[in-house]
């Protein structure tokens, strides 16, 4: 549905996006991930024909953004970082205007406006003036604006910023519902949002793609080893934290024990095993045999957050090395 090859975008001397390539299949939800200033918004603006690429070829729904921008624009719904709303207009008038602008035939406009309002949960504020709506409603009106012409591709730039937790969950649900008939690209730097909504993740840093994979693969890729988090408490009196750590290090198959948290008569450790060894039961037995209480034992998978920090740190190191040379 979307094909980006060797896309480069420069603003004067600044290279915002540096020779990136990726493709997205129909019906996917793709998380576009990266720190601020990584080039997410720039890439999205190229996809929506707002900015022309400096080099490379970009096609959306089979049309090139430079050759046939009008065809691309007809098939793309776009929610920029700040929703493009006219504060003095009423919600229904605004959506009608956008629908007509995007080429929805006149007799279908009313139906589409109602549908979009239902989908994005703004039907109850249809007759209100946009400028008087809360941030959450405005964001959703922005989303309604993006889906109004039933586009093949939805491009959402940070769709959940400024929303409260309940609204974030609702918006994520909404985006998940939109997938299937639409292909969705959403940028964000909120990682749980990606873990829960997206199927594919493209991590971009300093204008380069540093990872492009499914969420599952990305979080598991880094480790072929089992790691568990263990919380140990003493039966009575103080707990010798160092003693617990030493005891667990002696468990067969354990490669590393790290004391994460320690409190009065309580401590949490992360225990990592050697590759290919299951250590959970041995760790549990060791704790119980030593006469401690086992409060918690759970497997740790590398969170997307850690993965993200590791990936972006790697490019930073590479950049400083390159600069040093």
């Amino acid at each position: 549905m979307i094909k980006v090859e060797g896309l480069t975008k420069r603003y004067g001397r600044v290279t915002a996006v540096d020779n990136i390539s990726f493709s997205v299949e129909k019906g996917q939800i793709v998380g576009f991930l990266g720190p601020n200033g990584a080039g997410k918004t720039t890439t999205m603006r190229v996809l929506t024909c707002f900015l022309p690429p400096t080099a490379g070829s970009v096609s959306v729904a089979g049309f090139d953004v430079l050759e046939q921008p009008l065809e691309v624009k007809k098939r793309v719904g776009y929610l920029p970082e700040s929703p493009p709303l006219y504060p003095e207009m009423r919600v229904s008038a605004y959506l009608t205007f956008v629908a007509r602008l995007k080429g929805v035939p006149k007799r279908e406009v009313a139906r589409r406006v109602n549908e979009a309002c239902e989908k994005c949960a703004v039907a109850n504020v249809k007759d209100r003036i946009i400028g008087q709506l809360s941030k959450g409603y405005r964001q959703r009106v922005g989303l309604a604006q993006a889906v109004i012409h039933n586009p093949d591709v939805l491009i959402l730039d940070e769709p959940t910023t400024g929303l409260d937790p309940k609204q974030i969950i609702e918006t994520r649900q909404l985006i998940r519902n939109l997938a299937g008939e639409h292909t969705v690209i959403m940028s964000t730097h909120i990682l749980p949002a990606v873990e829960q909504t997206c199927q594919q993740v493209i991590v971009i840093d300093n204008g380069k793609v540093v990872a492009n994979d499914s969420v599952q693969n990305l979080t598991q890729r880094e480790r072929g080893v089992e790691a568990v988090s263990v919380e140990v408490a003493s039966r009575e009196g103080a707990l010798d934290h160092a003693g617990v750590q030493r005891r667990l290090e002696q468990v067969p198959g354990v490669s590393r024990v790290q004391l994460m948290e320690s409190g009065d008569g309580l401590c949490r450790l992360e225990v990592e095993g050697l590759a290919g060894r299951l250590i959970r039961d041995d760790v549990a037995r060791a704790v119980l045999d030593a006469g401690w209480r086992l409060h918690e034992l759970r497997p740790v998978s590398l969170s997307l957050e850690q993965m993200f920090l590791e990936l972006t740190a790697a490019t930073e190191e590479a950049a400083t090395e390159a600069a040093a040379k």
Binding site: C49, F50, L51, L70, K73, K74, V76, E88, L101, Q145
Partner: protein, 255 residues
């Protein structure tokens, strides 16, 4: 074509929903009403004096009231047009809605024409308020209507040309104050450019005089329709709207 009308209507409406319309209507009604009152009062006094002294020819309403009033409206429009034109693009750029327009399946030229036309139609509404006053003259007397119609045609053409300038300036900045200020400066300069012809007859002075708005508007106010004046207005509109389209295109690589 549909897109031009769509954008035009949205912009025209927003003058009313943001109360700019009512503010400007009040201003025009007050200022122009005062001008009209003074001009009519002077005319009434003078013609009464003339008839008491038994001076032969009755005074001409067109020459004594309507023509100066049309000139007044033309001068007031130098202040009005920048206020109408300043927001056209600057506001969209500032609020980010320009991103909506530029990512919609609409040509840049359609956006420019739609916005310009929206502003021009609103200006015509303002002229309508001004024209109400002249209605009194037709109600109580029989002035010649042709120069009045031509005069208003001239006002619309001049408004179109100046609005094209202001639309262009508005597309250069995201700050409405700057757009309005630059617009007012250029409008005023275009009006007074003709003054050099008072002391200079060299070729450059003739060019300046030709470029001046007042040279061409005076013809319309007198009730003279000359194709040279039409060419001037239409080429102004064309030139500045063309430049605006270029400027809007350049937003894509400048922003």
């Amino acid at each position: 074509m549909k897109n031009i009308w769509l954008i035009c209507r949205k912009d025209l409406k927003s003058y009313y929903t943001t109360w700019i319309a009512y503010s400007l209507f009040t201003r025009v009604a007050l200022v122009f009403g005062f001008f009209f009152y003074v001009a009519a009062a002077i005319f009434a006094t003078r013609s009464m004096q003339a008839s008491m002294m038994g001076g032969g020819m009755p005074m001409d309403v067109n020459e004594w009231v309507i023509r100066p009033l049309l000139m007044n409206v033309a001068v007031i429009s130098l202040f009005l047009i920048p206020m109408i034109g300043m927001r056209l693009f600057a506001e969209e750029k500032n609020s980010g809605t320009i991103e909506l327009l530029l990512t919609s399946p609409v040509r840049d030229l359609e956006i420019v024409l739609g916005k310009w036309l929206g502003g021009l139609l609103f200006y015509c509404c303002l002229l309508g308020i001004a024209a109400l006053n002249l209605g009194f003259l037709f109600f109580y007397g029989q002035p010649d209507w042709k120069p009045v119609v031509l005069g208003f045609l001239g006002l619309v053409l001049q408004g179109g040309a100046l609005l094209a300038v202001c639309t262009f300036l508005s597309s250069l900045t995201r700050n409405q104050i700057i757009a309005a200020d630059a617009g007012f400066t250029i409008c005023l300069l275009l009006w007074v450019l003709d003054w050099v012809s008072a002391y200079e007859t060299a070729a450059w002075a003739k060019v300046m005089s030709y470029l001046s708005l007042s040279t061409h508007f005076e013809q319309f106010a007198k009730g003279v329709l000359d194709s040279r004046d039409l060419v001037y207005y239409f080429s102004m509109i064309f030139l500045w709207l063309f430049l605006t389209t270029r400027s809007v295109e350049s937003l894509r690589w400048r922003s």
